[in-house]
Subunit: 507 residues, 2 copies
């Protein structure tokens, strides 16, 4: 139970919020089920069920009672320590309440229903390379998302800023633009260097014959020493991987097994593990409260990208994991040793698919989404012109030709789920993870050696102590201040990390 004062209004607020949190988490379970388990025939009614849950959650949360409780608790908020559970609960809920009150109930329900239905439409469109078949769903989602942005935005705030705020509270389009520009400029020389030696690094170690069931065995055997355990975690296949959970002790990650490439499932499940661990290590006192969630998507991605890249693609980790890979795919990993695997895992090559992109070109994928999203939301780009705009930018920024919409604009699930303003958080998370890693190396000077020996408990403990346990008690910027003593995301450690690592590989 949450540690807090005995104020009866606080108890009542806590209890109302627990009920609402239950409804939200139930929505997550329904959505997880839809994307991993549900027979496709169930999609129509499932959309109604999710809409019902969301409508009731919205009604209960935006009720006058919640407002009155919050008003009555101003004193408690002021007298309890600012970092106490009680003060944080009141403070964060006050913000959420004001924002959700601006959303008409019918709009919330319409978004929920449209997103649930668009998921199946997207799966089918991607399978059949049928952008035209998906366009009506996307148009509906986009219209609803515009209406949503108009409903919630502050006077003078742009639509896109309002959307960004849902995923990374407190950041603006201007700040993100500045960050991305610095990254792009800072990586230009590195990318040029790679272009001079495109074949210096061979990725054969990740290509071969990898049956799905053996990949699943492998992923489990690697994730378990990291902290995955059957008592509190699941790993399931899906079309577009994601992490979800029903509670801190019921973490659900998903992945996708490509029969001839090991990377997507292997690094993908490390990525989702990072998300899962964040929620798994939240203070149990926050369970069933709105604070029981990572504070932002950027912070979430800092965790997933950290486990995927800073840990998973490090030389120390690769040398630790190689014998485990060899246990499952003996012949292949006898041919390819640990160093070959390390190089394959870090090959830089401009490519079509974001989730398979290397660390150096990853941000370019995000910049494309970031630009296109802004144009779609403001309306300067029409959905008719979207595929061409996508393909054009892929050519200009990454130098790749997009052979089909399935491998182009249809590759990701997110827009079908209304996630406009979400993509930037992937790169923000990558950048933040490097910033955090500096602090981790300072506090755990032995970290590299530990990873090389498969000792992940110290890293888990550090992340739990400094980040995870707080859940959503602090805003992204407050957490930055608290963890690193700074006010802004800093690009420098990220650029330095990439230059050092890939400078060596592509020297």
């Amino acid at each position: 139970m949450m540690r807090m004062s005995n104020n009866p209004n606080l108890t009542t607020l806590r209890s109302r919020l627990s009920e609402i949190h239950d409804l939200n988490k139930i929505g997550w379970v329904l959505s997880w089920d839809q994307r991993t388990m549900m027979a496709p025939g169930g999609a129509g009614v499932r959309a109604e069920q999710i809409a019902t849950i969301n409508r009731i959650a919205h009604e209960k949360f935006t009720s006058d009672e919640i407002g009155a409780l919050l008003d009555s608790l101003s004193d408690v908020e002021a007298t309890e320590p600012a970092d106490s559970d009680a003060a944080a609960l009141i403070r964060r809920t006050r913000y959420d309440y004001a924002r959700e009150r601006r959303v008409p109930g019918e709009l919330r329900v319409a978004m929920s229903r449209a997103q649930a239905l668009a998921n199946g439409a997207w799966v089918q469109a991607r399978r059949n390379n049928d952008y035209a078949g998906f366009k009506p769903s996307l148009a509906e989602i986009l219209d609803l998302k515009r209406a949503y942005a108009d409903a919630v935005r502050d006077p003078g705030q742009s639509r896109y800023d309002a959307l960004l705020d849902d995923y990374e509270h407190g950041i603006t389009t201007a700040e993100v633009t500045e960050i991305f520009t610095t990254v792009r400029d800072g990586l230009a020389d590195l990318i040029a260097q790679v272009h001079e030696h495109p074949d210096r690094v061979d990725n054969g170690a990740l290509h071969g014959d990898f049956p799905a069931d053996q990949q699943a065995t492998l992923c489990r055997s690697v994730l378990e020493p990291l902290g995955f355990n059957a008592r509190a975690w699941r790993l399931d296949p899906t079309v577009h991987p994601f992490a979800s959970n029903a509670s801190t002790q019921d973490i659900r990650i998903t992945t996708r097994y490509e029969p001839h490439i090991l990377g997507p499932a292997f690094f993908g499940s490390l990525h989702e593990f990072g998300h899962g661990l964040y929620e798994h290590q939240i203070d149990p006192a926050l369970e069933r409260s709105p604070l029981c969630r990572g504070t932002s998507l950027g912070w979430h991605e800092s965790q997933s990208r950290m486990w995927e890249n800073l840990v998973g693609r490090s030389r120390a980790f690769i040398h630790w994991v190689h014998p485990r890979l060899k246990r499952v795919f003996r012949k292949h990993f006898t041919r390819y040793d640990a160093e070959a695997l390390y190089r394959a895992a870090n090959r830089v090559q401009p490519s079509l698919i974001r989730i398979e992109a290397d660390e150096v070109t990853y941000t370019l994928h995000i910049v494309i989404r970031f630009e296109l999203e802004q144009e779609l939301v403001t309306g300067t780009l029409s959905l008719d012109d979207l595929p061409a705009a996508w393909n054009d930018r892929m050519r200009r920024y990454l130098g790749v030709e997009v052979p089909s919409d399935a491998q182009g604009v249809l590759q990701d699930v997110h827009w079908s789920q209304g996630y406009f303003g979400y993509f930037p958080t992937y790169s923000l998370g990558s950048i933040l993870s490097s910033q955090l890693w500096v602090a981790i190396q300072r506090d755990l000077p032995d970290i590299e050696r530990q990873i090389g020996k498969g000792e992940f408990a110290p890293l888990r403990a550090w992340l739990g102590e400094h980040i995870h346990r707080h859940g959503r008690k602090f805003t992204p910027r407050e957490l930055l201040q608290r963890t690193l003593g700074v006010d802004r995301i800093d690009v420098a450690p990220y650029l330095s990390y990439l230059h050092t690592k890939f400078g060596e590989l592509y020297a």
Copy 2:
């Protein structure tokens, strides 16, 4: 959409009931997930989530608004045809409403929470043969169920009659006692005949080496021609098999794979298929309404026991299915031909486990539950004395010694879920299935030949037309009247079927 008049109050009622139905079905999904997918660490929060859903459903359903809507619709109920969707919706809801209004909200929530928690306790107790560890959960469930019976029962109605009514509306303990006594007396000579030739029928065909994944392949390959398809169905492993669904196009059946006996998964999945088909074939117009459910558990069991026994254990079916079994387990089913399999599938042997019992002794298992339940509910039997009472009755009625509580009183999940009054419906369903089969043979004189050729569409269509499509529009007794033109369950066809079939086998 439901076909009904344009009365605005009816539209409002329909919409409120759709929302409540969504909540109930979401509860089913959460419970299915808990029993097939959820990591055990999630149990505590899951119990709260299910309790939250049930509390909200209860509050919404027992609201004064529903009562006022029902009152305002008396005229519509009287003027619409009695078998119309509209009249049925109002009529059935009026009954449910009056009953649920008698249940205090806190009691509904307490039952829901206790049942969700008891599920895990039961799984663990069964695994560890630890009745003492399960007793506190069972005591809580039983107390709550007594309180529930006291809350809902009519003046003069016994507690057990009130509980029975939830599962088989309109039947009484007296009527069930009479039916079971007739069955028991009617089978005494057959059981004596079997006792004289205990080894006349060999069951070797069902014993061997059957890896779980191959059993799963087999079950699918057999269920598909019956009507199971991946667009609308799932089949998953669980501890205690059950059927559930999220909608008519999202049917979920479960089974249990025993590595050395084929019967449980094979006949078990036919059984659950019968449940699934009932819900799958409900008129789509009833979707998202309280009429979208089988009318009673007895009628449900008539469907599951029909597919398991009258179809699945018939000579025609076994001869059709044998080559399919051989395709998966070639060596085994080369050794055992179709006739050997038919005999094995119909071996009569008093045994420990109800769900593995043969057709002849099955009712004795039910009678034991029926008697013990009445004693537990009235309080004449204490939970301390329950295992001894169980073992004693197994000895007296079935002549078997119970070696452990895991194979005794702990074998079934139902009591942990508060299902007191449910067990009798298994035998009522078996009896009813024989009664229905007489009508099926009259309308489909070719049925046996069709089954022998794997043509199940005519049977599916008959069941859909006469039973399934109506969902819960009619009470159990109304459906009996409508389908068979009679008012009572008749034991004669059941006894005649068993005597003919097993008389031949044990002559």
